[in-house]
């Protein structure tokens, strides 16, 4: 058996043609995602020198990232903001998805979904700026309330803080939460809801015992889709967060570009990724429990 024969056989195999098909995307992903990530991972264990990176292995960056009060506060704030945004978004998205799935005439559903996705027609950056305009010192809310004589001077607590970040992000990610929940609700066989009532449960109890558990995969998907990008969001806290609303992405940017401390920035970035991974795995585990794989 020569190696040529093996290669020829591989060339014909399904696995080989599959690999050939995904290779453009795979190489793209490796070059632009895996490689930079690996670089950051390596940086995080190197030592920062003045204007250069010293190639000595160290845990000092991680020690700094996890013990320094400042970084801890920002990391916890990011976590809190992301969790709050996720909770607010998913809680508001569920009724919308439920309404579209259960109460909108089937022929109108696609129109509704289309309307829900309209915010995506505008750039994310512009949507964030929009909230700046709405919440700002001379913004829509303040001038409106001033004009109506409800307040005598502009409210300052509505902008440049954590609250403004939450409002902006919740608005930006609403469609991301509505769509997976809608899909999960659509998949529910309506006779299951009748069966719930037939077996003696009220509409509300049927919702709790049948609809909600069956919608959980969609809810978990919505949670992940909202949570993962919001915890690392950079633009919104930068534009509407003010000094109080800084999040971990802003901190990493600060380390990299302002303080030129690549290793510490990398260590914070890797730490943030680990935290996101742990939280996401927890939600995936919940999802697994609701789905009950065939092995159980």
């Amino acid at each position: 058996m020569t190696s040529g024969g093996v290669l020829r056989r591989m060339g014909r195999s399904e696995a080989a043609s599959g690999l050939a098909m995904i290779s453009p995307t795979a190489s793209y992903a490796i070059l632009l995602l895996a490689a930079p990530l690996a670089l950051i991972f390596i940086y995080s264990f190197l030592t920062d020198g003045y204007l250069e990176i010293i190639r000595t292995f160290t845990f000092a960056n991680y020690l700094e990232a996890w013990t320094n009060e400042l970084y801890r506060v920002v990391m916890l704030r990011s976590l809190m903001v992301a969790l709050t945004v996720t909770a607010v978004t998913v809680l508001l998205a569920f009724p919308v998805a439920y309404f579209v799935s259960f109460h909108v005439d089937p022929s109108r559903k696609s129109l509704w979904l289309f309307l829900i996705t309209i915010p995506f027609w505008t750039s994310y950056l512009i949507r964030v700026f929009l909230w700046k305009v709405i919440l700002g010192y001379n913004g829509v809310v303040n001038s409106g309330l001033l004009g109506l004589g409800i307040i005598s001077e502009p409210l300052q607590w509505i902008n440049y803080n954590v609250g403004a970040v939450v409002v902006t992000l919740a608005h930006a990610y609403a469609p991301f939460a509505i769509l997976p929940i809608f899909v999960a609700l659509e998949k529910i066989d309506r006779s299951l809801l009748e069966a719930g009532q037939d077996l003696g449960e009220s509409r509300f109890m049927t919702f709790l015992r049948v609809t909600l558990p069956l919608a959980m995969p969609g809810v978990i998907a919505a949670v992940l889709i909202v949570f993962i990008p919001t915890i690392g969001d950079f633009v919104t806290p930068q534009l509407v967060g003010g000094p109080e609303g800084r999040m971990v992405a802003n901190l990493i940017q600060l380390q990299y570009l302002k303080l030129d401390n690549y290793p510490l920035g990398s260590a914070i970035a890797v730490s943030a990724m680990v935290i996101v991974t742990v939280v996401s795995l927890f939600f995936l585990y919940l999802n697994r429990r609701y789905l009950r794989g065939p092995e159980s």
Binding site: S191, L192, E194, Q197, R292, P294
Partner: protein, 364 residues
């Protein structure tokens, strides 16, 4: 049987979906403890009628009484009825045990009692040991048993079955038919079955309501329905029926004298001939098994006529022949048991066709 009290009563039940008139004045009563079938082609309103009993459809007018109480005052979740859905509606996120015990939550039982009842219900449908299985790991037949156990565990007064056997293969379906009959005798509650399969209805039911276009056109026991269908439509839907044009010669309380194309002059007993005038152009019907082919050597009778075999369909135990009777344009179908020494005839064979004296049913 007649002494049994009424469990469900429909009084002029009407149902509209917008302009569509789905139920057009349903009047019927279903007795306690009987196996009752709603039979009809798709779109005849049988499922709608079943769902009005369950409380999933509101009726436009009329009254439905369930065990003497006006159903409109009872919401779906409070009715003494349980349903086996066509899709079975097994909760996919729950195990077999949790599915079967779903309706017991409100009974507030302790764990041991709950487990005992679920175990009993699973045993009743032959699923002992399946309790921990995930719902999606079940076959079609098993899912149906779970649906049955889940409904019967609540001890309903009426069990509603919406085409429960339509998703099963033929063998499984026949087995489940027998099991359902046994189960119904065992628990003794009213079963109401919706089906489009006339054979299934005949096999399983104490009484059958045949529905067409939102109306019950005939409500009888299976034998009456088969032997004395009231209309051509019913006769055509249930089993196979041959039709021949006929003229009524005389109409007396004892029966009718009719002149039937191809068969000649025949008498029809009064219970198979609704009253009407003489000289009327009508139709008579007869089942394939009431005709027979006389073989060489069999004695001639007064009720026989010559014909030509046009088509032969061999079924193993039976052979169906389409025979064109002399003087009639359309062929009639007849069935013969295949017994040793009786050869299957070839197409084109000339044959003597005889019919039994009470074969004919007159349709006006």
């Amino acid at each position: 049987m007649t002494a049994k009290p009424t469990m469900i009563e429909f009084r002029d039940v009407q149902k509209y979906y917008g302009d569509y008139h789905a139920l057009r004045g349903i009047n019927a009563s279903i007795r306690a403890g009987e196996f009752f079938s709603l039979l009809g082609p798709s779109g005849c309103g049988k499922t709608t009628l079943l769902r009005t009993i369950a409380g999933f459809e509101e009726i436009s007018s009329g009254v439905i009484l369930i065990d003497g109480k006006d159903a409109s005052t009872i919401p779906a979740n409070k009715r003494p009825t349980n349903m086996v859905f066509q899709s079975y509606a097994i909760f996919p996120h729950l195990t077999v045990e949790e599915n079967v015990g779903f309706g017991l939550r409100r009974a507030g039982l302790d764990k041991a009692e709950m487990a005992r009842r679920v175990g009993d219900a699973l045993a009743m449908v032959g699923l002992t040991g399946f309790g921990k299985r995930a719902a999606h790991a079940l076959s079609g037949g098993q899912r149906q048993r779970v649906a049955l156990a889940r409904a019967l565990i609540l001890k309903p007064k009426v069990l509603l079955l919406d085409e429960p056997l339509s998703a099963l293969d033929k063998k499984m379906r026949e087995q489940m038919q027998m099991e359902l009959i046994k189960l119904q005798r065992q628990v003794g509650i009213t079963f109401i079955l919706v089906t489009h399969d006339q054979e299934e209805a005949l096999v399983m039911s104490d009484r059958i309501a045949v529905m067409f276009e939102g109306r019950i056109v005939q409500l009888d026991d299976p034998e009456t329905l088969y032997r004395r269908p009231k209309t051509r439509q019913v006769a055509d839907f249930i089993g196979t029926m041959n039709f021949l044009p006929a003229t009524v010669l005389s109409d007396t309380p004892e029966g009718c004298e009719v002149e039937v194309a191809g068969l000649g002059r025949c008498r029809i007993a009064a219970d198979q001939a609704p009253p009407g005038g003489n000289g009327q152009e009508t139709t008579v019907g007869f089942r394939p098994e009431t005709l027979t082919i006389l073989y060489d050597g069999q004695a001639a009778t007064v009720r026989e006529t010559p014909g030509t075999v046009e088509e032969v369909v061999y079924y193993g135990d039976m052979t169906y022949y389409d025979v064109k009777l002399d003087g009639v344009s359309a062929a009639v179908r007849l069935s013969m048991r295949n017994v040793p020494g009786r050869p299957v005839l070839d197409i084109g064979t000339r044959a003597r066709v005889a019919w039994s004296p009470d074969a004919l049913v007159l349709f006006r």
